[in-house]
Amino acid sequence: MNFKKITVIARKDLLEVRQNKAAFLPMMIIPLIFIVLIPLLITLVLPGIGGAVEDFTNDPDMQVFFEVMPIQMRNTLTGLDPTQTMIVTMLGYVFAPMFLIVPLMFATTIAAESFAGEKERKTLEALLYLPISDQELFAGKVMAAALPAILITWLCFVLYSIIVNVVPYSYFGRIWFPLPVWWWLIFWVTPALVAMSISLTVLVSTKVQTFMGAYQTSSSVVLVVVVFFIGQMTGVLFLSQRVAFFIGLGCWALTAIIGRIAVSSFNRQKLLTD
């Protein structure tokens, strides 16, 4: 494997994605909503309506929500006033699954553009005539999707940390974020999710003919995040460090299975005759 060739392929794919407005705009807007807009809204609005927040946290339903929380989480909330409790609960726990939309979004969009998009625009054949191996081509395309997805997620994480600490700083008087579970999310679950969604997209791309087809099918992975979000809101499933660990493990296991099929379906003969 020639690393330089792999990076050249990856760079070309990214150059192309940047020009695809249908792919690029949602990729920029969604992180903006989850990473900037919602945290700003919560940290700016909640302290101003203290009384209402207090009523809300004292609501019997909310009390049940706090009671079923794992002890680890409840500990982080002890000694906080109602507004602080709400901020930590919302931005520290409830929105954590939504944060995972960022790596998913980037990974599936770029991979769909890179694998199915190339097929759709009939540029794949010229690529196949180059003196590169199937593996190099595959690696280049995976790199094009994986690297930005992970790096941008990390960047978003830094941005998110700054916003949720700095904006309500006068209120907390300390740096309260990130909570321990976030390290698991960022450095264990994120790469695993990225790997899983790329392998899924590659597999889907071998069956469909267009970028949109691949993009829509594989972005249904987002449903997992939504289910998780609802699970947490309803108190059925809480994002503890242990849960994060198993989610990551599950994603890696699925990647191993789907990835193997995806790799075996990615060779010149199959790409041309299927």
Partner: protein, 316 residues
């Protein structure tokens, strides 16, 4: 030296044969044409020769290598113009060329100079920073040919190089093929269904039909294989009388004849060597000849003749 050699190559696809029992050789420096309609197996042949597909049976050697095992070596020395230009429309011409040149292992300085040279040659220098999506069909085709030549390939494959082009540009491309062969010492395999084009540029040709090779050889050999009669066209100063025409047809050196108008006729002869005798015969009867033109059967006639023969065989 054989730069390409195929021995009884077959390629099975979806249960049927896309290629069957195909054998031919191409020598260094030659322009070799693969002729045939769409679906004859021309593109499949190019893909096999570059190691993109695995032959079901038979042996393939390209530039001394097995293209399947040494695909990277083979593809590094071949340049391919695909049937569709397959350029990145969202990137500029320059970005396209840089991408393909770099992956072909060209050094940056060399690549830069070569891109400038080719864009200039193909009249695209002014549009180098324009996105390919804004290009006309002809411009795309020119850029795609430039891309195929970028890394100075030893062997160039051109799949329907002029099918999307205006006649004027098509003509330029034909000139270019001859020039590439001369100047870059490059062997060329050209796939086309435009027989006139092949006649202009190729040294040898193979005629393909439904995955099989019907015939191959130089144009003269193909004419021979097709068994088409040799024909000569005569034009006269005065009209030829019916009597003289009948006498002419009765001479031993004429096999058949056809009068297109009273001043002109075409004769089928067994050999062009008999032409002087026909001329002598006409002179003897004081018939004034304006012109005598041997009529080589065109490649097109050869092609249809061979194809007709196969179809007749298939019916039985």
């Amino acid at each position: 030296m054989d730069i390409i050699s195929l021995q009884q190559v077959a390629f099975q696809y979806n249960g049927g044969f896309a290629l069957q029992d195909v054998s031919f050789q191409v020598q260094k420096g030659e322009v070799f044409a693969l002729l045939g309609p769409n679906g004859a197996g021309k593109t499949t042949t190019i893909r096999l020769l570059n190691g993109l597909l695995r032959a079901t049976s038979g042996e393939i050697r390209v530039l001394g290598c097995d293209p399947l095992k040494d695909g990277i070596i083979v593809r590094g020395k071949t340049g391919v113009l695909t049937e569709t230009p397959a350029l990145y429309e969202r990137l500029t011409a320059l970005e396209n060329m840089q991408f393909f040149g770099t992956l072909n292992g060209m050094a940056p300085a060399d690549l830069k100079a070569r891109i400038a040279e080719l864009l200039d040659f193909f009249d695209l220098a002014e549009h180098a920073d324009q996105r390919v999506g804004t290009y006309s069909r002809g411009m795309r085709q020119r850029l795609a040919i430039a891309r195929a030549l970028l890394h100075r390939p030893e062997l160039l494959f051109l799949d329907e190089p002029t099918s999307n082009l205006d006649p004027e540009i098509a003509h330029q491309v034909q000139d270019l093929i001859i020039r590439v062969k001369k100047e870059e010492n490059c062997s060329v395999v050209i796939c086309t269904h435009r027989l006139y084009e092949a006649e202009q540029v190729c040294d040898r040709a193979a005629i393909m039909h439904k995955g099989r090779l019907l015939a191959q050889g130089t144009l003269a050999e193909l004419r021979e294989a097709a068994g088409l009669r040799k024909r000569v066209r005569f034009t006269l100063r005065n009209e030829l009388t019916d009597g003289a025409w009948r006498q002419l047809l009765a001479t031993p050196f004429v096999e058949e004849g056809e009068q297109s108008n009273p001043n002109a006729f075409i004769l089928d002869v067994e050999d062009y060597a008999t032409v002087p005798e026909i001329v002598a015969w006409l002179v003897q009867y004081h018939i004034d000849i304006l012109s005598v033109t041997p009529q080589q059967p065109s490649l097109e006639e050869v092609y249809f003749q061979l194809q007709k023969r196969v179809e007749v065989q298939c019916e039985f």
